[in-house]
């Protein structure tokens, strides 16, 4: 039996409290600052909370467009990430063809190429495709990832061959098997992949900063970055903008939290 003295339980609770405070402190702080009327002291409990900073951020800061753009970019990018990775992983997991091993190694090797190193040729390619300053440019290079293909391949390999064979005897083609057998059985992995893609897409700053030029195309992080230091008459405005950027992704994450399993991270380490 594991001994668990009371003082230790106490230490654990204190630790949990400290860590939780560290994790949600900055977010709460942003809310507190953003909810206060402009005149009151910067750091104090908001006794008369106001939504004015939020409406200012929304209208004067022009966040409506970026919010829509961010939602589009995030949704499209996560759907594409799941679909393209699941498509690519299917033959890698289940079909025999020449060059399969080599191809998988090359795909894994792309994980070692950091976006930060290749931004220049990536940008030049986008220029040559005539996609500069479009939302397509924001999504396209990150519409599939080697990590996603790896995750899906792992999940597909866990699915018993017999299910696939049964479907085949019933006359199903490979695409039908992919859709009716593989995808449903790998659903938890696909959901985790979608969640990771969403988190990544929502907060991405470097790449949109490079390819987007006009403010009506900005995603939220780029737009909020532009707001910083711009509104001297209301220093709370960036804080309200930050809260508005934070709420959707936190809501999505809390809604999808059951797909956050430590086991998925064990896999990410191996890759």
């Amino acid at each position: 039996m594991e001994r668990r003295p009371t003082w230790l339980t106490l230490v654990m609770y204190v630790g949990a409290g400290l860590l939780a405070g560290l994790a949600i402190g900055p977010g709460l702080f942003l809310c507190v600052v953003a909810l206060q009327p402009a005149e009151s002291a910067f750091f104090s409990i908001p006794t008369e909370p106001t939504g004015k900073n939020f409406s200012d951020a929304w209208t004067k800061g022009g966040l409506a467009g970026p919010m829509v753009n961010s939602v589009i970019v995030t949704l499209v990018r996560s759907v594409l990430n799941v679909v393209l990775a699941a498509l690519a992983a299917y033959p890698l997991a289940r079909m025999k063809f020449r060059g399969r091993g080599a191809l998988f190694v090359i795909i894994l090797a792309t994980m070692m190429i950091p976006e930060q190193v290749i931004v220049v040729p990536m940008f030049r390619t986008i220029v040559q495709m005539g996609l500069v300053d479009t939302l397509i440019a924001v999504v396209l290079p990150f519409s599939v990832s080697a990590f996603g293909i790896y995750l899906c391949k792992q999940a597909f390999e866990q699915i018993p061959m017999s299910l696939e064979e049964a479907a085949r005897i019933d006359g199903a083609g490979s695409l039908q098997i992919w859709w009716h057998v593989m995808l449903p059985l790998a659903a938890p992995t696909l959901a985790t992949l979608a969640l990771f893609s969403m988190i990544g897409a929502w907060s991405e700053l470097l790449w949109p900063l490079i390819v987007l030029q006009s403010s009506d195309k900005y995603t939220l992080p780029v737009a909020v970055n532009q707001l910083l230091g711009q509104f001297a008459d209301n220093p709370r405005l960036p804080y309200a903008a930050a809260v508005l950027t934070l709420i959707p992704i936190v809501a999505a994450f809390v809604g999808a939290q059951r797909f956050l399993k430590p086991q998925m991270f064990a896999g990410s380490v191996k890759g």
Partner: protein, 295 residues
């Protein structure tokens, strides 16, 4: 050629095509391109495209103080990894020890910083780090220490960005550690308790050795992350001179503020080689791990 599924030869490639095109064009070809660009004079206004100049860009780098400072800062930035390992391992242990009902929610709460966009985190931490009335300097002064110019002066600016990296990153590595901790066989720990080991003894002699490969992996992964840092610096210490920042902000500045694609590509190749060294260590560790069947 027919395979086991009785498909035609091109069927697998049809499934693979979109992914192969995207990864091929934007990663594989781009990697080759960045190597070539690094040997050329290339600006947004180069009429005939990149013009081959041999190792000229690398020669310029060697004699550039800006580059050396940024590279040094990138290595200084690696100091964030021990802090990340300590904080995330501690968090994982706290979560593991938490009661069943609270465990999941604690995990979710501690993952929130990972979900938080860097720009949002940076705005909050900027306020906390403000020189005159920030929370951190106020606390420091309360305990009798002088405040620091966190947002304006090197090396404090570097420390501020590292703080954001630490805060935003520890939840991710916590999950990796948690997976490793949960995989430590219960019987092993119980046997050690029966042999009279204390909690520290069990941690030191049973838990730590079995998760050690994962500690090393987290060390490598978070080091690579630290070398790639951009957003934390770009937003948290906005306006700090580029030579006070790290290599990726230098790439951004060189390519997109100064329009020197050739030089930026040479910096990119240099960064790639440094990261590659870490990646190769990672690969060795992972394959050793996989063979040992651990983590």
């Amino acid at each position: 050629m027919r395979n086991t599924l009785g498909e035609r030869w091109y069927t697998p490639w049809a499934y693979l095509m979109p992914a192969v095109c995207v990864l091929g064009v934007f990663f594989v070809v781009a990697m080759v391109q960045v190597g070539y660009y690094s040997l050329t004079r290339y600006t947004p206004f180069s009429a005939g495209g990149p013009e081959f100049v041999g190792l000229e860009n690398y020669r310029r780098l060697m004699s550039s103080d800006r580059f050396w400072w940024c590279l040094l800062n990138s290595f200084l930035y690696l100091l964030v990894t021990p802090a990340i390992i300590a904080l995330s391992l501690w968090a994982a242990m706290v979560v593991e020890a938490a009661l069943r009902g609270t465990r999941r929610w604690l995990r979710v709460v501690l993952f929130l910083p990972v979900v938080t966009p860097t720009i949002v985190a940076a705005i909050a931490w900027q306020a906390a780090l403000a020189e005159r009335d920030g929370v951190i300097n106020s606390v420091l002064r309360m305990v009798g220490m002088p405040g620091a110019p966190w947002l304006t002066e090197w090396p404090w600016t570097l420390g501020s960005a590292m703080l954001v990296t630490l805060w935003k990153g520890f939840g991710f590595y916590m999950m990796i550690f948690l997976a490793a901790l949960l995989a430590v066989p219960r019987e092993l720990k119980e046997a050690a308790y029966l042999d009279g080991a204390g909690r520290w003894g069990v941690f030191r002699h049973v838990v730590l050795p079995s998760i050690w490969p994962v500690v090393m992996l987290v060390f490598v992964i978070s080091s690579i992350g630290a070398l790639k840092v951009f957003e934390e610096l770009y937003v948290t210490v906005k306006g700090a001179p580029v030579e006070d920042q790290t290599v990726v902000p230098l790439i951004y500045d060189t390519a997109f503020e100064r329009g020197d694609y050739g030089l930026a590509s040479a910096i990119g190749i240099t960064l790639f080689l440094v990261i590659l060294a870490f990646s190769l260590v990672n690969l060795r560790l992972s394959s050793r791990n996989a063979r040992a069947g651990g983590a």
